[in-house]
């Protein structure tokens, strides 16, 4: 555990408003004081060291001023003309840059929602991620929550336009420690596609500690896509916590292509019968990047189905971590839970630590897990070469082939094509 003076001082000065965020915040303040920043002794942070990231001269709390619409225009994702765009700058929601195209989409500040007709929903779900993530980094975000948003996709609403969420760090003037926060409620029978991306501009140090919590009601259908292709100096802990409260369908794709130290916590809590969840991930990292995907699928109720497939391609000196937990609680009979993690190392200095973790307390379940770490298949390379394809191109074709069954799950076409393009560029410039 690392004690960071400016954070502790900040905590002492916090004034917790009396709204439905308050109980979770008060807990978080106590938790953070007790736990601090997780160090190498914390089991969940053994391979990902973030202690040093806090010892910088950060602007904290961060401010969003100085960012302009022109800056945003260089960042926007393909397909944005047809999308709702929510923009965070240095952890603060910036309504002036955001574009709400679907009139059914309700966007409020978290503080506002915690005091209006949504306060019950906020009370129920805000801070729920701390039930699975017992560390100071999660508590830190909740304790200091500021500038966050509440999204309500009400009962029966089918959003025809996806929601793009930009987490932008403007580190042009100062080093920035930012903590974006959002709570998304997806009502009964509602449907939504969420796309998240992370962009850092400027050369100063940056560290983003993001938490998003999503509550999904009965018969809702949600697609979630996380695209990470930031600078090598951009450090990120990104927590995405889903609760499936009624029989519902969730499908997530996490793509990590560049960054500094990147830690993704993806939790899916299956709290009703017959929920279905798909978790896909592709990390293709080079240079000195560090990518850590920690996932938790928590089967609370019976008859749920989950399938998880994460694939890694590591080049340069990149380091990867995959930790996949599956909990099957004692009432969760007839659970079907599958997990697979496959890795290809393209250079001698790249590494991956992979660890499946199944904790099963019910007796009538089907669970499987598997992980592999290896090189590109020599037989396949030779086969392609024997047909006239030069070795570097054969290698690219095989990496692309390896990624295909992840990429095909990115449903919004503009995003799918964009990711393919990013991968083509990486294959062109990053392969040894």
């Amino acid at each position: 555990m690392t004690n960071v003076e400016y954070l502790n001082k900040g905590l002492d000065q916090l004034n917790v408003a009396d709204n439905s965020l308050a109980p979770a915040r008060k807990n978080a303040i106590t938790s953070f004081s007790k736990m601090g920043i997780p160090g190498a002794k914390h089991e969940e942070w053994r391979y990902t060291r973030i202690g040093n990231l806090f010892n910088k001269d950060y602007q904290f709390p961060a401010k969003k001023e100085g960012f302009s619409k022109t800056d945003l225009d260089g960042i926007r994702l393909p397909g944005h003309e047809e999308a709702n765009e929510l923009v965070f700058v240095n952890g603060i929601y910036a309504s002036e840059f955001s574009v709400i195209r679907s009139k059914e989409l309700v966007v409020q500040s978290l503080e506002e929602a915690a005091g209006n007709e949504n306060k019950e929903i906020v009370a129920l779900h805000f801070g729920h991620s701390s039930s699975l993530l017992k560390d100071g980094i999660n508590a830190l975000n909740t304790a200091f929550v500021h500038g966050g948003i509440f999204l309500n996709i009400k009962k029966g609403t089918v959003l025809s336009q996806p929601v793009y969420i930009y987490t932008i760090t403007d580190a042009r003037r100062e080093s920035v420690l930012s903590q974006p926060r959002s709570l998304i409620y997806i009502g009964e029978n509602a449907q939504a596609e969420l796309v998240e991306t992370y962009v850092t501009i400027g050369k100063a140090d940056s560290f983003t500690n993001q938490v998003m919590e999503v509550a999904i009601e009965k018969d809702a259908k949600v697609g979630y896509y996380k695209i990470q292709n930031d600078r090598q100096q951009a450090n990120l802990v990104s927590t995405t916590h889903f609760r499936q409260l009624g029989k519902s369908y969730l499908h997530t794709v996490t793509i990590s292509l560049n960054g500094g130290i990147v830690r993704n916590n993806l939790n899916v809590v299956l709290e009703a019968d017959h929920c279905e969840a798909h978790l896909y991930g592709l990390y293709f990292m080079g240079g000195d990047s560090h990518i850590d995907n920690h996932t938790i699928v928590d089967n609370v109720m019976p008859n749920c189905f989950s399938n998880e497939l994460y694939k890694g391609v590591m080049t340069g000196k990149a380091a990867g971590v995959f930790n996949g937990k599956i909990f099957v609680r004692k009432d969760a009979q007839k659970t079907n839970a599958y997990q697979s993690n496959k890795n290809i190392l393209l250079s001698a200095d790249a590494s991956v630590n992979t660890k499946p973790q199944l904790e099963i307390f019910a007796d009538d379940v089907k669970c499987s897990h598997g992980c592999t770490v290896g090189q590109l298949d020599e037989d396949a390379l030779f086969y392609l070469q024997s047909r006239g394809v030069p070795a570097p191109i054969a290698q690219s074709l095989l990496v692309r082939a390896f990624a295909t069954d992840i990429l095909e799950h990115i449903t919004p076409k503009a995003i799918h094509d964009y990711v393919e393009q990013l991968i083509s560029l990486k294959l062109e410039y990053d392969l040894p």
């Binding site: 006239g388 030069p390 074709l397």
Partner: protein
């Protein structure tokens, strides 16, 4: 076209080919037969450039070039083609995409412009009809879940698309029923002309009923121990490989 002299090769220190001499001229079809473990597939792999095999002695001249100095993809660029005994499955890569890349990389090697989409599709359709291959097979990932027959037909289809000067068929008949053998053989026969050559590696005489060779060689224990015309294949079929083994062993005084 292809001249192999005293070729010796080993894998993991174990000698497999112990001095092969073989010359193939344009327009000829040669068959290499032999019992299991005689080195037939090793010979095919060495010619295609598989790096697990170490050439310890000898030379291979192909169209005036030192074949052993060329990378596998350069050999393909020079018109050499190996139909694999066990074609590799590559999930995520469609057969069409694979063949298009191969065709255009070979064209690039030869200094030719890539085929445009129209010309490529026209060529595909023609060769698909020849090999009795449907569009659905080509949209599928390369060889993944293909039956044995589909894999072998796909190999000869690739051969038709790449139009090699020297084609090596490594046990292309293994695992095929008689109808599939006919289709495969028919494909090969249509590609035969006075400017190219075919080397058929097979365990059984059966395939040679359909792809009729000009010369038959028997490989045993890493050497060509007997050569002849197509009648030799029939004799082998009738007497089995034991008669060759006995002849060789007597000759060597074993």
């Amino acid at each position: 076209m292809l001249k192999i002299q005293n070729l010796k090769a080993s894998v993991e220190g174990k000698a497999i080919l112990k001095g092969i001499d073989l010359e193939i001229k344009a327009g000829e079809v040669h068959a290499i037969m032999g019992p299991n473990g005689s080195g037939k597939s090793t010979l095919a792999s060495v010619l295609a450039g598989r790096k697990e095999y170490e050439v310890t002695e000898g030379s291979v001249e192909y169209l005036g070039k030192d074949l052993l100095e060329l990378a596998p993809e350069e050999r393909a660029g020079e018109g050499l083609f190996l139909a694999f005994q066990y074609p590799v499955e590559i999930p995520g890569l469609t057969t069409t995409n694979f063949i298009k890349t191969a065709v255009n990389e070979i064209r690039k090697y030869r200094g030719e412009a890539p085929l445009d989409a129209v010309a490529f599709l026209k060529m595909m359709k023609e060769k698909m009809a020849m090999m009795n291959i449907g569009q659905s097979l080509l949209s599928r990932p390369l060889n993944e879940g293909f039956s044995g027959g589909e894999k072998k037909r796909n190999e000869v289809f690739q051969m038709a698309m790449l139009q090699p000067k020297m084609a090596i068929l490594d046990e292309t008949d293994s695992g095929l029923d008689i109808d599939a053998i006919r289709i495969v053989a028919n494909g090969v026969n249509k590609l035969r002309n006075k400017d190219n050559a075919v080397l058929v590696v097979t365990h059984y005489q059966r395939l040679l009923d359909y792809i009729v060779p000009d010369f038959v060689h028997v490989l045993y224990n890493g050497r060509i121990v007997k050569s002849g015309t197509k009648e030799l294949a029939l004799e082998l079929e009738e007497k089995g490989y034991d008669f060759i083994k006995n002849e060789v062993n007597v000759g060597e005084g074993v």
